[in-house]
Subunit: 452 residues, 2 copies
């Protein structure tokens, strides 16, 4: 038997090819069999005009879930292409958190029209969700959940879950609340089924609940879910009233997005750069960072310009400049990367600082090793111990300073409330260039000029 | 009311401080109240000798889960410090996949002793799990799951789940199997509770199940879970027989580890570098990459050395060298980073290649913009259009080539089956250095030497 994953990929590939050849008609059955996530993947790979055509071929009952999975930028055109009635059906079908996210991306007028057309209760809750900032717990949560009063027995709770659970997708946890809908605890469906039917739920619930406030940063939410191995986390207000829940599938999306953001920022790419960015969008996303590089490397050039005279007299020093700069830059990039990643993964704030002394010591050792090699090569090549000492010495200092700066800078940025990832290899490597040039050209003009 | 997350963090902080002051005794109650994930976090932050002391203070019923959450390197010493009986209790309590992972890290002798001491059935299954490669679906799955035959009614299935579910932690999905334990479908606990009690489970189950083979790469597993918003995924053999399941909390750990691996590799840090690495371990993790940098930047230096004569005669060109090299390096790093991340997130193999022409075009445009600025500055400074053309031209070509190389190299690595992240900014930026030096010094010596 072939691997199930392969079968699925082949199916997607077949549809993609048929679309490219323009023969969509005989594919309606295949389309109806695909998972919404696969349909979304196909849409993301299509050109904008093909997308709307394809989306309308998708059976209405699959559209909501498909839409919630496609790239944000496709939402508005896909919805505009649908008729009024289809749009209403679509938004009644969407989970409320997805509905709120999608409406927030539409033109204000369109969003208001759609809200006016759907059921008032849904509409109110969606509008309330739209009030929260996009990257907070409130902005990610859904209000669809199942809760029961604490005084019910397990059997009564199962009956209540049967009634209330019909409209809620994917729930694994039942929230136990008091009369003011304050969260008392949680009980998993598993424990509810396994429990003796006559026991009160508030005696078997997990009372020590990990919950978050609606204003909590989505990154902190995903750290909690990852750390405590949760499948969902309740969102409560300052009076402990249950507002909603965040599920693990949203958290996975957040984690992927946050990791992408960190990786892109470290390399000076705008975190909004999309997978199917046009060349113009790519340029817009990256040129700002290149201009910063131009500025910082211009500073380095000014340093070099001060020593034009030295370079003219001992041109061989220009051979060592790029080596010293590259080594200092890369050791700083290593230290920064580690610090940024540790900060992203640590839930406690203070721990990465503890590793600073170790980084500094490691920098001194690594610098020493590399300096010995380069100093030896330099000294042999020019047949002068003095050259070896100048080259090795400036190499040592450059690496040690580079590692220190690379390890400390993200911590400083984090301390003052900035994103440590903007310490970015882009910015960093040109700064270490500058320092290395100053060190090697400075020491060369001081120690070697008279002697040559 | 204070934020619940803050209360938890304060509690952890209190214990940590008490530990630092050596006053652990009055804290036993507080320790018993903490979540195993918090206890694991505390342990990870302690020095090796303090860890074993603290671990023994943890109530036996919390030890298994705590142990499965601490860093791998702490497993062996923590277990060695326990008595024989405690070790047996610990391994009976551990989930089988965690038990297998931990045993695999212990000395072979110790692992065999422990396996001999625990219940034969557990022991057999754990030993079987240890046979799978660490980073495959088989290596990550657990064999603890709840399955029911397809001919049962929903009510009968709930009774069966009640019996079989007692020994299984955290399950949300019941697997429906035939008499040969081939997987027929899945049904969530939610749907089982909501179903009419007299319907057969094989009529209400989800028959189109997304499953994986035991040899599947854990990265592919985590992509499937992320894409299809799953909370668990079944592992089946080539005859569709159910072998185990992988849960979303394991997938989150995999995703974090894979993202860290990519980030570290991109910057030339060994992906095994631990959070509490000693200075010596840091040096060992990073020096190999620095030595590669030394080699590749040495090549760049050889290029520069060929043009020592040119530099001596027109030393001002040395001022532009670091600028051109930095710009080419950073635009290549941007392109590589985007390509590596897209490859990591895409489930279909062919898509990132589609963006190559866009990258190339973007590189030409970005190179043009930067070249105009630098060429203009260079021409004005030396009051020579020829200098402006040489500087601008080599800048343009360096960036365009850098972007092309940076975007294509990860795809080539991926195509031949290597990890694209090893294209690494470290390696890349010294390669672009070399090309830039060749371009600027070559064109300078050709176009400017006679003229000066």
């Amino acid at each position: 038997m072939p691997d199930p994953t392969d079968i699925r990929n082949e199916q997607i590939e077949r549809i993609r090819q048929a679309l490219e050849e323009g023969s969509v008609l005989p594919l309606d059955e295949e389309i109806a069999e695909l998972h919404p996530a696969d349909l979304a993947e196909i849409i993301d790979g299509l050109e904008p005009e093909e997308r709307t055509v394809f989306f309308q071929r998708i059976p209405p009952e699959l559209r909501a879930e498909t839409l919630s999975e496609v790239d944000e930028e496709a939402w508005s055109p896909l919805i505009e292409a649908l008729g009024e009635e289809s749009v209403r059906d679509l938004f009644e079908e969407l989970e409320r958190d997805d509905a709120a996210d999608i409406l927030a991306e539409l033109p204000r007028e369109d969003a208001r029209d759609i809200l006016a057309r759907i059921e008032p209760r849904d509409s109110r809750e969606i509008a309330a969700l739209m009030e929260y900032e996009e990257d907070t717990a409130g902005g990610v949560m859904t209000t669809e959940l199942v809760s029961v009063p604490g005084h019910l027995t397990a059997d009564e709770a199962i009956v209540a879950v049967r009634v209330r659970g019909r409209e809620v997708n994917d729930f694994y946890t039942v929230y136990v609340v008091d009369a003011e809908s304050r969260l008392l605890g949680t009980i998993s469906l598993q424990d509810l089924i396994l429990a003796d039917g006559s026991t009160r739920v508030d005696t078997i619930m997990e009372a020590d609940v990990i919950s978050v406030r609606p204003m909590a940063d989505q990154e902190d939410v995903s750290r909690l879910i990852a750390k405590y191995n949760l499948v969902s986390i309740p969102v409560v207000d300052e009076f402990d009233r249950l507002l909603g829940r965040i599920t693990v599938d949203d958290v996975i999306d957040i984690m992927e997005a946050e990791a992408t953001e960190d990786i892109f920022r470290l390399s000076g790419v705008d975190e909004e750069e999309q997978e199917y960015a046009t060349p113009f969008e790519i340029v817009r996303s990256r040129v700002p960072w290149l201009l910063i590089t131009l500025g910082t490397s211009g500073l380095g050039a000014l340093v070099v310009a001060q020593f034009e005279d030295t370079i003219q007299r001992i041109a061989f020093i220009a051979v060592f400049m790029p080596v010293v700069a590259a080594m200092a830059g890369n050791s700083a990039v290593q230290a920064t990367t580690v610090a940024v990643r540790r900060l992203a993964l640590s839930s406690g704030r203070r721990r990465p600082i503890k590793s600073l002394p170790r980084e500094l010591l490691a920098g001194i050792v690594m610098g020493g090793v590399i300096a010995l090699i380069l100093g030896f090569v330099g000294g042999l090549w020019q047949d002068s111990m003095r050259v070896g000492l100048v080259v090795g010495g400036s190499m040592w200092a450059s690496i040690a300073l580079g590692v220190a700066w690379g390890a400390a800078f993200p911590l400083i940025l984090d301390e003052v409330g900035l994103d440590p990832a903007v310490s970015s290899t882009v910015f960093l490597s040109t700064m270490t260039d500058l320092i290395s040039f100053l060190l090697i050209l400075g020491s060369a003009s001081y120690f070697l000029s008279q002697w040559l």
